[in-house]
Symmetry: C2
Subunit: 176 residues, 2 copies
């Protein structure tokens, strides 16, 4: 089983939660235009399998703003490329509720299986915190006052959507 | 030469400006995640050629907001799926300048050629007009007070970015 990522910390997080060693591979995969991370992730999984011919895992993350009816979702990376986090915060006028969502997709050439991890929260008024990466500085998980980027790594990992998805993956006794 | 579209009016507009008959074909093609229409269009052209094995033309349109540093661009269709035009107008706070841009891509399996048509303008405060389709109701081309959707068809076609791109295509004496 091959985890498609160039991020060694991600590999470590997968291994820690799943409880076994995982090989990883960095692949540059094209992505389809979609807000839904499930579709983006399935497409990517099939493309990765085409190249590797091995059972693979990919993951995709999205940030869904209530006020923007789910936008940007999987398109968040385009917002990040074009706008500052301050500007992204300013896109919202009233309703700051948002959902952070991860989709981990396993594909072995025949069977496809997806595990979703989802956390409700809000988008901060402006970016805060130095830890983490990407939009961690603007997402405040429900029940906390801190953005992900204001949390220590352990604190964040404990409530991360990746953890939720990986726990599901582990608990379904999926045979790899 | 095959124009990839399901829209008969578009075929007619191509034929009128280019001055010859064009066959068309409706194909459902996947699109990559991109703000730049040139990249989206090239990808689509290659996919269309893979299916048809004939010289093809595809076109892609984007709407680029200055205040959002070029967003949504080719991603405008996702904004339209998730938000009302009123909500899209409200995304802008101060700088209402925008560019409407079309990219017509020709690909014959070897050579790729792109023709760009671009119009500067502004995004209206709220949607106006009943003509046209899509975001015509929120785009006011420079020099006009009307949105595209407030113009008669002839008036709009005379200044459309499609016309600009097709005139370029015609004038370059591209051998099809």
């Amino acid at each position: 089983m091959l985890l498609i990522t160039g991020n060694k910390n991600k590999v470590k997080e997968f291994e820690e939660i799943l409880g076994f060693k995982i090989k990883s591979l960095s692949l540059d995969l094209e992505e389809i235009q979609e807000v839904d991370i499930e579709k983006v992730s399935e497409y990517k999984a099939r493309k990765a399998y085409e190249k590797t011919k091995e059972p693979i895992i990919v993951e995709d993350i999205g940030l869904f703003f209530d006020e923007l009816n789910g936008l940007p979702g999987a398109l968040i990376k385009w917002f990040e490329k074009r706008l500052s986090y301050e500007e992204i915060c300013n896109l919202i006028k009233k309703n700051r509720k948002a959902t952070a969502k991860i989709c981990i997709t396993y594909f072995n050439g025949k069977k496809i299986k997806q595990f979703i991890g989802e956390i409700k929260g809000t988008i901060s008024d402006k970016p805060r915190g130095e830890n983490g990466f990407g939009w961690d500085c603007i997402f405040i998980p429900k029940g906390s006052e801190k953005t992900f980027a204001e949390m220590k790594k352990e604190e964040k990992n404990n409530i991360s959507m990746r953890k939720i998805a990986l726990e599901k993956m582990k608990s379904c006794n999926f045979v790899f």
